[in-house]
């Protein structure tokens, strides 16, 4: 009687190894949580990203209170009274006379307070917009832009790297020369030069797409080189010889037999590329050349913080930087642990 053989594919084994990596799994869950929050931004944030109240410019974070004169109450927030100090700086005092109870599930949002009161969980920006809400709306842009950019570079890298590695010789030399050309312009300079070629009258969707394309263009070359290296060794393998002998066309060999073999391994470098794209988007937006203002991204949320004076008086505007850091660390750790799982000899 045939016994069921408990066999595992190489990918299956690697995923098994990855699942045992505790730090890697924590990062995976953290990322899933961030993406989840970004998708639900409309629901979890008390305000829309455009909702501004200039009377509350740089309003500090509001605390949610549970006790009123020693009595337990339903959660509420105190109002803020604006005064000016001797230096004519805005100072927001807690006004115990105004109380605004938290409202739940009103108007399609998880929580919020009624109109004259404002709820600033993580403080307000220069135009009195809620940073908490803007961070989650910004997550949509910052977290998706890296993934989209990587998809494009990955496709470019796969096709070009695969062709270069499979054919070798002159084709390889020519294609790698083009790759080298892209790698010979320092990334940030290439990004700015590409941005200079983008028309200035683009709307926000067009700007978003052009940033994606710019990111894809700066990163595809290194991916192509990695894949080319793998294709170069894969083409010497027996299954390629078999396919050739059977008369399978070259392109079919590349796309059906060689490239699928490289995907599991290049997964790891893909994660590292996502993190570098998130950083690149932040860099581009922080200098005002990426995503344009009313639409938030983690990068342009930080552009306020580029001057030292606002940071000294409103340090909470640095928070988006923490989120960039968390996302980038998670992608890096994920990339590292995937590489360890797929290629156990790498770090030893």
């Amino acid at each position: 009687m045939a016994r069921k053989i408990n066999s595992h594919s190489r990918t299956g084994l690697a995923l098994e190894a990855f699942r045992r990596n505790r730090v890697g799994m924590i990062c995976l869950w953290a990322l899933l949580a961030l993406y989840g929050m970004a998708i639900c931004a409309d629901f979890i944030s008390p305000y829309s990203y455009k909702d501004e109240d200039r009377n509350f410019s740089y309003c500090p974070p509001t605390a949610i209170e549970f006790f009123d004169q020693g009595h337990l109450k339903l959660p509420f927030v105190y109002g803020r009274a604006l005064t000016f100090n001797a230096m004519h700086r805005r100072v927001y005092m807690v006004d115990a006379a105004q109380k605004y109870p938290l409202r739940f599930l009103k108007g399609g949002r998880l929580f919020g307070v009624d109109a004259p009161g404002r709820l600033y969980l993580w403080g307000a920006d220069a135009r009195g917009r809620d940073l908490f809400s803007r961070i989650w709306y910004g997550a949509r842009i910052s977290l998706s832009i890296g993934i989209l950019g990587v998809m494009i570079s990955f496709i470019l890298g796969l096709v070009i790297g695969g062709i270069a590695g499979y054919y070798g010789g002159a084709v390889d030399n020519a294609l790698m020369w083009i790759c080298e050309m892209f790698m010979m312009v320092p990334g940030f300079y290439l990004m700015l030069a590409l941005r200079a070629a983008v028309p200035q009258n683009f709307n926000s969707v067009q700007v978003y797409l052009s940033v994606v394309v710019i990111l894809a263009l700066i990163g595809w070359a290194s991916l192509a080189r990695i894949i080319r290296g793998m294709a170069l060794s894969l083409r010497e393998r027996d299954f390629v010889l078999v396919a050739k002998t059977l008369g399978v066309p070259d392109l079919v060999i590349i796309f059906k037999h060689i490239l699928p073999q490289t995907i599991s391994f290049s997964c790891a470098s893909l994660m590292l590329t996502v993190s570098s794209y998130i950083l690149a988007e932040a860099g581009l937006s922080v200098v005002g050349l990426g995503i344009q203002d009313p639409v938030p991204s983690w990068g342009n949320l930080l552009s306020d913080a580029m001057g030292i004076v606002p940071v000294i008086f409103a340090p909470w505007i640095l928070l988006p930087g923490l989120f960039i850091f968390i996302a980038v660390v998670c992608f890096n750790v994920l990339g590292d642990s995937l590489r360890d799982a797929f290629d156990p000899g790498y770090n030893e």
Partner: protein, 324 residues
Amino acid sequence: MVKHIIQRICSKVLLLFAVSFFTFWLMHATPGNFFDSLRLNPQISQETVARYEKLYHLNDPLLAQYGHWVVNILHGEWGYSFYYNVPVTHVLGGRLFNTFILSLTSLILTWSIAIPLGIWAALRRNQWIDRMLSVLSFAAFSTPGFFLAVLVLYWASHWGALPLGGMHSPDYDDMSVLGKIRDTLLHLVIPATVLSLSSMASLQRIMRGNMLGVLRQQYILAARAKGLPERIVIYRHALRNAFNPLVTLLGYEFAALLSGAALIEIVCSWPGLGSLLLTAVRSKDVYLVMSSTLLASILLITGNILADILLTWVDPRIRYGKKN
């Protein structure tokens, strides 16, 4: 060996032409003729406009225009900056020097700290010092450089002993030569440290990996077996071999430094190429954009050529024409 080096230089120079054509084409793909806005600018005389229009043969096909542009560049005519209202070369020189100082300082800082740390971590593998270093370098590697710069500036604003950006103090011109050097160095501290931190992190990890790889080799076992003191095994036999692959990295390291430097220059208002390029892009100053991109690429390619020569010099296997 000389032949090999000449070959490398030739291929890099060819690459430079390709890069310059790419930037040139990019600028021309921008909609609108930039001389139109120039003609409307009352601050620029019509003679200047006419002179540059003639110089760049704007009515010729793209390739011919590119040819003229290259010839002009070789003659030292880099174009006219509409924003600064002077020839581009007047702005570029000083900026290039500043970027060079910043990148070089951080390069020296990075290598002199990261290499010993990498060796140390490899020798104390999986002990607490190695773990701590790897966590630290992971954190440094993942922090956006410009964000780190803001944090350090924020901290320095409380501390008060370091200048918060710029390159010179307001009274720089009245200082003695020594005072000037001291002043510039003080201004360098924050941008150079921040710039070094992230490249330090990756270099330390790579050095650790290389060292561990070499320590597992047979010849290390042989050296230990014949009774050499551990100090000699590590510093004479292992270290030299672990160090070789890093030389190739030097070129790419330079690229990362230049790119990273651009953002940090902007945050710390260091008057370098990066902040110049930003101004140029914002004000659509076409020749300035092309020239600074080209210059940054020249810096990078020069760095690569130097790394190639260095590698041929330290690694005899390359000299005799064998790859890897």
